[in-house]
Symmetry: D2
Subunit: 342 residues, 4 copies
Amino acid sequence: MSSIQSQREAFYGRADTQSLAPLWTRLKSLVPEAPVPACVAHQWRYEDVRPYVLESAEHISAKEAERRVLILENPGLHGSSQITNSLYAGLQLIMPGEVAPAHRHTQSALRFIIEGSGAYTAVDGEKTLMEPGDFVITPSWTFHHHGNETNAPMVWLDGLDIPLVALFNSTFREDYPAEEAPVTRPAGDALARYGSGLLPVGYQAGSLNSPVFNYPYARTREALHALTRGSEPDAHAGYLMRYVNPVDGGWAMPTMSTTIRLLPKGFATQGYRSSDSAVFVVVEGRGRLQMGDERFELAPHDVVVVPGWTKYTLHASDDLVLFSYSDRVAQEKLGFFREQRL
Amino acid sequence: MSSIQSQREAFYGRADTQSLAPLWTRLKSLVPEAPVPACVAHQWRYEDVRPYVLESAEHISAKEAERRVLILENPGLHGSSQITNSLYAGLQLIMPGEVAPAHRHTQSALRFIIEGSGAYTAVDGEKTLMEPGDFVITPSWTFHHHGNETNAPMVWLDGLDIPLVALFNSTFREDYPAEEAPVTRPAGDALARYGSGLLPVGYQAGSLNSPVFNYPYARTREALHALTRGSEPDAHAGYLMRYVNPVDGGWAMPTMSTTIRLLPKGFATQGYRSSDSAVFVVVEGRGRLQMGDERFELAPHDVVVVPGWTKYTLHASDDLVLFSYSDRVAQEKLGFFREQRL
Amino acid sequence: MSSIQSQREAFYGRADTQSLAPLWTRLKSLVPEAPVPACVAHQWRYEDVRPYVLESAEHISAKEAERRVLILENPGLHGSSQITNSLYAGLQLIMPGEVAPAHRHTQSALRFIIEGSGAYTAVDGEKTLMEPGDFVITPSWTFHHHGNETNAPMVWLDGLDIPLVALFNSTFREDYPAEEAPVTRPAGDALARYGSGLLPVGYQAGSLNSPVFNYPYARTREALHALTRGSEPDAHAGYLMRYVNPVDGGWAMPTMSTTIRLLPKGFATQGYRSSDSAVFVVVEGRGRLQMGDERFELAPHDVVVVPGWTKYTLHASDDLVLFSYSDRVAQEKLGFFREQRL
Amino acid sequence: MSSIQSQREAFYGRADTQSLAPLWTRLKSLVPEAPVPACVAHQWRYEDVRPYVLESAEHISAKEAERRVLILENPGLHGSSQITNSLYAGLQLIMPGEVAPAHRHTQSALRFIIEGSGAYTAVDGEKTLMEPGDFVITPSWTFHHHGNETNAPMVWLDGLDIPLVALFNSTFREDYPAEEAPVTRPAGDALARYGSGLLPVGYQAGSLNSPVFNYPYARTREALHALTRGSEPDAHAGYLMRYVNPVDGGWAMPTMSTTIRLLPKGFATQGYRSSDSAVFVVVEGRGRLQMGDERFELAPHDVVVVPGWTKYTLHASDDLVLFSYSDRVAQEKLGFFREQRL
């Protein structure tokens, strides 16, 4: 070690006692030239993971678990409970007769329904019955519980902003004193009230989340197919729509962007990348997602992660419908979002 | 006349030659203490005016008239072509086989469908078929024409911001070179694209009007009835909803506020007044609108004007559905809007 | 008169009894192809009108007059008390020792200071001392009075949205029970609090007007001259700046756009027109405003009206500073504004 | 281990091979009931750290270091280069004649000037001379370099959103091909253009940061003292102002909230806490910051960290001026911000 270097090292040692550290030895790693992959590309085939999800019911009840969920943990972030650098995903199972007890937390949650029909989520005093393809929101700090009064298991994907809340260290959680929070409004009330092209005169939003908390797939699917009759698909995205908060026209949730897209049979996108890592869920159809040499064959209910700033293309073997969520909305608000059409 | 007064008068005369005038002789009338009624309360019973509307077809064709409309002219503003101090209304008739030729203008128009089923309005490249109770928007400066390919006459109410545009003297109008402007998108495209809880990613609004240009009554009616199951009616308004621009959650049009409300059978509102003069259209049901001693019995398709800052109450004999439009949105933007719940 | 025409006329007569009128006989005049000049171009030379303003003090006191103002009445709108199709202007005089008593009204007012130094306006509990070139706001519905504790007369231009409020018929006015409303905050408080690049944490605006109610010319002038060192003037406007509401970055007032511009000596603009009629006040310097064949030689304190959609050019003989106000902000909000660079 | 537990463990092991993990064993730690302290309260006394800052010049040049900064590293986050859970801070030194070479990055930076007078930062083509107490912004992705053409060392505090950008993994950095990026506008241009109560007509912001990139302390200090004459201090905060983006009235930067406050001599705040961890810098005066039993005596230029959701009080021995920055603006946008006045 040179004399200069050894003097520097001695200085660093003394500085450390004052909670001071040299920037210059760390600058390039603290402020990298381009995104440094954290999470990795990965696919969870539903046919592979479904048996585990169902088996989980043999090991624990919804009540004991509070939420019986298998976390989809990114292989590049083992032990982190994260599916991407900033987001969480899990598959939740609720069996006939079970109730996942009521609580609330700072973390916002989305549910994307995978299989089963007619179990409910109760959010903020309203129950909504869930069907495959429905997109359901549990806004930050609203009491919610789930229940299954049908005869079949119900499985959905949970997406949460847990790592974001953790970074900001602004977490709060509260259990409701009873298993179920009271239900005071009939099913469909929020959709009628806020999601029919109308809003109550004088309505003031109570949160940054959409007051429509179930976007039924029946309506979404019809909209997607209507688009195919009136315009060409976007070359980089297909027929790509975002779920919207009717109160301000922004994204439906304040921390997670949610989109749905249709790629007509045979359509292939051109290369695209963006700074947000995205989680894709196959809603209908089959196709292929390709990132460089990595190639994922897509089947219904599969979940795939595309790390941020990774170029990818999509190809539809059938009419292919994909749901997706990412932290794009947060990146846009903070000025971080970038995208590139190739 | 006193000497002082005569000197003043002389001064006023000299000042007038310089295009100068004393404020103090006019202050109280220029800046009144409270709204000075301009328009008057008035009702057009549909059973009375319908024969005139139909007779108009005997006198002129839609093509010759460009728009075959009978203006609902406020009796307090005779000759003004206005229904209120700031707005216009008319009843438009289009007969089977007719086309009202394409043009565009700065003025925004709303259509509220009164009778007939299935005639169309073509706006900005899309035809929409109109049914009773539908609320249809023709945004500022978009080419539009109307046609009736059915076997029955079609009648709707037109509401326009003609007096507003006149005050600002910012009017532009252009006829399309052909009778019909091209239709490039299938019916329902705008509703699917912008009115299903979704928006295209990256969509930039081209105007301040809602891109959803037909709010079908079937959906609106269902929403209104859903409300009755989940909450009590507002004491001063009933179940009152506003049509919304999905792009920003604001009013559907930039110059005219549009609302729809349901009053359950037997419900009576408490007194209310606001600074905007409003035009009410009875969609369904019967009831009563009372302003002081003036009492209007309401039947389907009747049109009633409530002048600004006039206290009124509503009473529903049946389930009563009322559409309404006013300049409230403009007053809100300019800081003029006031309301009072009595 | 043909038989058809006579039948039509008979129909119109019968329809009129029902408060119905044919649109087709009026359509072209109600919805013209382009703005129809209402106000005319006009100049008030300050050297001509100043004697009248000063003479007004011989005829009436500020107290008796409430506001001793000579209205600048557009020659094309005689008797209307308007300077343009939508706005009002007047020259207000306040003599040493006088107070113009406190009142408030829906109408918003701007003051642009012409001559004198140090008289005050008290707005919402704060007095501000006025200097030539200062732009002062009296927001809608705030108590205000004016006083002159100096030894010289004070003259300023008043701009109000009286015709706008009249159209919407949303006027309210209230006199304060005493001549002067209480002053509770020191001079300069609003500028310090809201106009120094800072805002109080948690501040909620109480109106759509800027909380900064005096934009001192000393600061404005310095900013204008700084611009000349860092960029070229805009070819159609010179160095053109708008007064800003610090709360939202929008125009300083909700109904009247206010701007100030500097044209360097010798600079001439290219042709420009916009849909808003504008009132110009010469702050400093001399120059020329030309509209087609009409040519106005500009000297300090002159007031000139440019009707909407009229092409004009400006030429600066000296460094020329012009203040201007118009209804542009209202037109923008309502979707009416258009401009053309020639 | 019970049989149930061992079966569960076996299941977890098998699930792990599929990148699946049970939520129920982690739920309470992933979604805690309240913020879990990450960073700790800490004070850097300027008299202690100043010698280290100056000594750093003996070990490395600004050019070699690119930025010669000693990171203020939170003792609770050793090795992280962070001062709080989400933000970075450092003290940067630039010696006479030195230039810190031009680069740009996604990370936004703030500078708060500690000592020295007249060195410059060049941002986006404009140099600004820095004085103690000035708040200077380097927006995301704008080229910037620093230089010292004076005879004395210059020290300022750097605040950056490095950990935020890292979480979102949206980092980009680029070195300018030369040591200095070109300077094309005179000093003071941005302040004149955007910070004088005016904005250029038609100005469109190019980023989410304020276009005013130097908020001079001379103006800020005058504003703070003006406040003391017109109102009482807030019981929990003193005279607390936020730096504002004139384009929209929001916080000056999209990821870091910046405030300045004055506590008059003898004033003591009541307890307060909020969900954002804050960095305080003493600008003028002496006083005390107390968190429970921890008590920090404040002297000019000291830096103190208050962890989020920690109750604190302030006491002013002299007129005490404190600058502060935190991630509050990001928390507000994402719906995470909470505060409590005790």
